[in-house]
Amino acid sequence: MAGAVGIVAGGIAGQGAGLRSDLAEAAAEGHFLHRECGEEKSKYFDKKAMKTISLRTNPVAIVELRDGVLSAIMTGFNEPQKIVSVPRGNPVTFIFRNFDDAERRMVASLGTAMAAGGEASTEKEGHSDSNETCTQLIPRGAEQALTVTYAKPSIAQEDPLTLTVPGVSGQAIEVVVP
């Protein structure tokens, strides 16, 4: 009896030891919240990117990068769109699918008004207060979900809110938040 309790206690005691340094650092410096959304692979955030999601029903739009063209497939529209209209102050989920050969990520700009101190309407820690958020770099054929809340309308922003893919120039999906 004492043996069993001892072993379990050992597990608790060992909590400090053996942490993987990069994960601990990433957690400490909050890399999962303030994501580096550049074109290259970031040391912490892009390690072992997720390639599939199972919950993919009825998102606001499925953004596909297919042979250099970024287009949004939305329920209710028969052909892909370039403008996505999203209600304000409402968590919406985009699904990004990469059919490009290179590893790509989708970046959602949250607008300057957001960055100027206006925090998201829902104070969940999952919401970055930097002015953009993005998915991980994912290889060809992979998909990832990105949940975003646009607190301020488009008219309050200097430049329009967009969904872009770093490295693919000239392709942007405009997000209209009335």
Binding site: A120, K124, G126, T149
Partner: protein, 667 residues
Amino acid sequence: MAIIERPAPGTTVPALTPAAPAITPSRTYGALRRPVATTGWKSWLFTVDHKKLGLMYGATALFFFIVGGLEAVLIRLQLAAPDGKVLNADLYNQMFTMHATTMVFLFVMPMAAGFANYFVPLQIGARDVAFPRINAFGFWCLLAGGIVVNLAWFLGGAADGGWFMYAPNSGPVFSPSKGVDFWTLGLQIAGIASLTGAINLIVTVLNMRAPGMTLMKMPVFTWMITVVQFLLLFAVPVITVALFLLTFQRSFGAQFFDVAAGADPLLWQHLFWIFGHPEVYILILPSFGIISEVLPVFSRKPLFGYPFVVFSGAAIGFVGWGVWAHHMFASGLGPVSVAVFSLATMAIAVPTGVKIINWTLTMWGGKLVFTTAMKFAIGLVVLFTIGGLSGVTHSVAPSDTQQTDTYYIVAHFHYVLFGGAIFGIFSGFYYWWPKMFGKMLNERLGSWNFWLMVIGMNMTFGPMHILGLQGQPRRMYVWTEARAGEGFFNLGFWNLIASIGSLILTVGIGLFLINIVVTARSKVRAPLDPWNARSLEWMTSNPPKEHNFDSIPHVHHLDEFFHRKYEEDPTTHTMREVASAEDVLAELERNADKHIHMPSPSYWPLVLACGMPFVALGIIYSIPVAIAGGLIMLYALYGWALEPATAPESDFDAPSSNGHAVGASHG
């Protein structure tokens, strides 16, 4: 006769055989004496006898029936006139949530459990259930769960999210009061009662049938209860998962239904309705079982197509698992899944149709005696048909998008639940009252009770079909004159009719309560076989001895009791009476078994069940209280594990005898 005959409740205590050996009950933890009281409140508190537990289930369920009924009347008073002032919005939301939760989880399910606990062992010729102490634990859990759910009324408002508590509205932000927490944890505790009851009754039915009673010679009531217990066995864990997710979301900040984190609120709907739909068959099948017993008895002929009724009950139970999303036709599932679930829902109407046809054909060519029990049974057949047909009209998905969440659905499920489950339960009351209490409920009062309930029921829920088709949504705390419309089918007139109907219903049920009091005080003893019945439970005294049968009867036929009383005259094909009920009972008593050792009462089921509310209160208010509750439960579990189910020999016989116990059971 058994050396120690433990007097059944309510009868005078026979003189103990002189010079009984001193009872030295076994001890647990070396200190605690095992309870031995056989009369008085202690015998009820620590009993493991399936009959006492059945009565306690019934009494608790009846109490909650009255609580739920008052909630219903308050709802109807609020909706009787436009801009009602009886209840404000918040109170109204609590009222309809608690009305549904009380009626479903705390009245119909425990009442079915009460009938099952009392009559299944009797019908299959057993002396008690397989695990008597777990049976007691189940009842105390149900009582604890009911108390925790209703405690919320006094501690800041009851649950207010509707009985299916859709996410995100049941989340911590949208229903901030503690009501939903009490609801969640109370139903978890009641869920444990259902789960343990299910295991108990299935093992009892499969393992402890009288010799000669094959599965196809079992009474239909026992068959339906077995199907219900299998439904419970597999449905309760799914809602346990859903309730845990909701508790973790509300009390520990998990993100299961938090859309900002990417969650999908339909997860709750799927988990709830995978439990929800088998649940509604759990509510109706026991009543099907009861009237499948009552109709043949008062038609003086066997149930028409016994195997069909049994297989259609099993088919309803089986297909019941494949239809849950018909509650979600309007919640945005894709057309393919809507089509599949629509067809599956239609498919389930077929076995229900088979049952109704068989009941009608049972009465065909019979010799119908209209006692109150028979009236309620026929009432069920008619009203359930109306409810079933209104159900078929919205199994068609497109028309369901017009009807779901309106009063048409409220009308449908009240016709099948009130017209079905409750009429079946009342039929069971009047049919089995002489068996349980040795006195018959007054037939005149019963007839008034039946008629007021039929008229009240049709007046209350009939107009709801019209209100639903006129587009009045469910759960509206007030309707306004401006939008009630004119013409014959306006909302105003029919809401008023429904409210008046609910008052008539209240009077009807009041008469039943008066009937109970009148019967309790009357001195008229019921005859041994008042209804000229057919199944095994009538081959015992009224009320049965604690060990039920002096000798376990050997079963040769379906409706064994009838076949012992009547023989078919080969020439004229009419039934000739060969023995009276008294003769049948006397024959059983003649060759009684010697040492019948019934399982002994025990503290631990009660103590274990008492620990659970503390855990629930602890989760809501302060963790140390939860830990204390946990310790109580651990203490009780140990006590229970160290205590044998049946007190050892020294309790019964003098230490010297080496009697071998018959019918004692483990557990």
